[in-house]
Symmetry: C2
Subunit: 419 residues, 2 copies
Amino acid sequence: MSTLKDAMRRLGENARAASRILAGAGTAQKNAALDAIACALAREKNAVLAANEKDMECARAAGLEPALLDRLLLSEKGVENMAEGVAQIAALADPVGEMTDIRRRPSGIEVGRMRVPLGVIGIIYEARPNVTADAAALCLKSGNSAILRGGSEAIRSNQTIAALIRAGLEAAKLPPDATQLVQTTDRAAVGELIVMCEYIDVIVPRGGKGLIARLLAESRVPMIQHLDGNCHVYIERFADPDKALAIVENAKTQRYGTCNTAESLLIDQAVASELLPRIGKMLREKGVEIRGCAKTRALLPGALEATEEDYAREYLAPVISVKVVADIDEAIAHINHYSSRHTDAIVTEHHSHAMRFLREVDSSSVMVNASTRFADGFEYGLGAEIGISTDKIHARGPVGLEGLTCQKWVVFGHGETRR
Amino acid sequence: MSTLKDAMRRLGENARAASRILAGAGTAQKNAALDAIACALAREKNAVLAANEKDMECARAAGLEPALLDRLLLSEKGVENMAEGVAQIAALADPVGEMTDIRRRPSGIEVGRMRVPLGVIGIIYEARPNVTADAAALCLKSGNSAILRGGSEAIRSNQTIAALIRAGLEAAKLPPDATQLVQTTDRAAVGELIVMCEYIDVIVPRGGKGLIARLLAESRVPMIQHLDGNCHVYIERFADPDKALAIVENAKTQRYGTCNTAESLLIDQAVASELLPRIGKMLREKGVEIRGCAKTRALLPGALEATEEDYAREYLAPVISVKVVADIDEAIAHINHYSSRHTDAIVTEHHSHAMRFLREVDSSSVMVNASTRFADGFEYGLGAEIGISTDKIHARGPVGLEGLTCQKWVVFGHGETRR
């Protein structure tokens, strides 16, 4: 145990030392490393696929579930996409060094802020080996060291990818310890990572709700957390019916397994009898099960009864909870009670109601007349995304390069002293 | 124990409910409450002083240390300053509702950010009763509910002040539960507060390092933490000697007990023999004890030997550690190793060295040719300050109204669905 602790602390020390160099590295040098990594991934595609095939063999032998095997498997196209993803991150603007709001103060000093890397990011993720390249590249571009802890079933794939990343860093004369993979598959390593406050500035977990809830309960290091996505669409009484139908269809049925999929529909009682039958028909044609309140069931015979838990659930499946509400007050109160603070949308043509919804719904993304499926780093123009935060501290919603940085204060003086 | 837990959770529920109303309250209404509170504090000055006198009697009877008694005592002027502080917060710009960076995306949606309150802020503080008014006013202006937990020795003062605040909220037709004081002096209440993640969004501790370290070890709620202030002044080889002398004098000797006071002086070996004797003379005339490295002691006979711990210490006293360094590389490495990431300054006329120092020193405030004493919310133009964060997540350095808010994403659509 103490050997593991020592080994983890050594990773931490190496990461911290590398982060100092990375923080001072120029954009061109970081991009050279990213380009070298992208080339290496493309060039060594067969080595990555061979390592992944070994992981798959062991996983099959260990009797892993098909869904996990699916996430573990890398195709030739998958490795190419990984390389391309790294190259795309090289093309993004460097957030580091930006100075803003420099203002002259009555004392004579000029004060403002400078955007700098956080330092060391710990990434804890499950099966998908492409996270190794993706997360390492985002950390590198934002000037942070990364300590990567992938799933044990992907260890060979991850080791191969990490070795290529480290070679790319060296080729660009950056410290290879800017990207370190935890080599042991011992689960106790995770327990060490999440308490190494002196070496790790933030933990980004990428995985299921179970993983994140467990990490949250034990972590001493701040975490960019993403729990569930119980997203709502509220059709207000002044909604355009066609927009309402299109948005519900897209938000619920475009993909069932994503966190920005709508899981709950609220509809104003003034338009429920006119609109709900049309929406119910559409949902049924798509094979979506409806669980509703008494008023919903009166309008949609055959709909199941929604329980308290239904309103709080992220189904990640073709199921939706439906509630007829009296007005926008009830809708906002319901959402603020049941929502997971991920993404909630109103459909309305009423300006003041739209603006009230935007102001009062306490979620990381609030939308008017748009599908919740837009809550995504690429759709928002961040260029890439390391995760979606459902927390309020530091970063809310899709987290891109900027979320991996912070702002320090800079003071330009001319010999001023304080009176 | 379960009764205490229930009572604390009830505070949390009330605070959350009030925060929803506060988040939607307009600036004029919040300012009306602040003005009513300021007037009430001025009008009921004698009631506050009487409560404080009872606290003082009990504290004296309990044999509290003179330093604690000093912090507990409210003078007539003190209560007037408290009222004036609240009125000044009313005059600050409201950070809530600001929308920024709204951009049109290729999909047709317009995406940007809206600044909103965090929700519920827990403030845990020690003796000073003025924090009750100060923290409540900052939370109110930024649209947050506050749960205040003051020191048990100040309970009567705090109760009187909190009652005036609640009356002011009611006068402005805002929910009085926007400001709640923990009424019990049971220390277990603090233990409950710092784990009520569903009701409290952030904890702001205001007190000594001991309090904060203890809270940090146990808190499950994110914290705007401020540990120690081990601030450095580095006199680089291209420093202007007069600026160097003035800045060291001000940074070290203007006040000894503040967190932005310099505790350590680094000086380039190229100018040490010329400058250090002048600085040593000034420090000695001010009665500051010098603890230095071997080279320092050679130049300043009579200086004590600095140990490893000296370089890491926040003295809060007329003592300074001094080290002669080879160059800017050694200075930056020393600071990044020993500094508490609060505030560090370089004195130099060399542009590139100045900019390197600003970029590479990993502290919440980095300064060129200015006294570390400027690291302060008022000096930076924040108008007020709830604390200084030595953390990197969410807010760094002086935290004003903006640090009590976060930014959510807002999407303006026109019926768009995702492809």
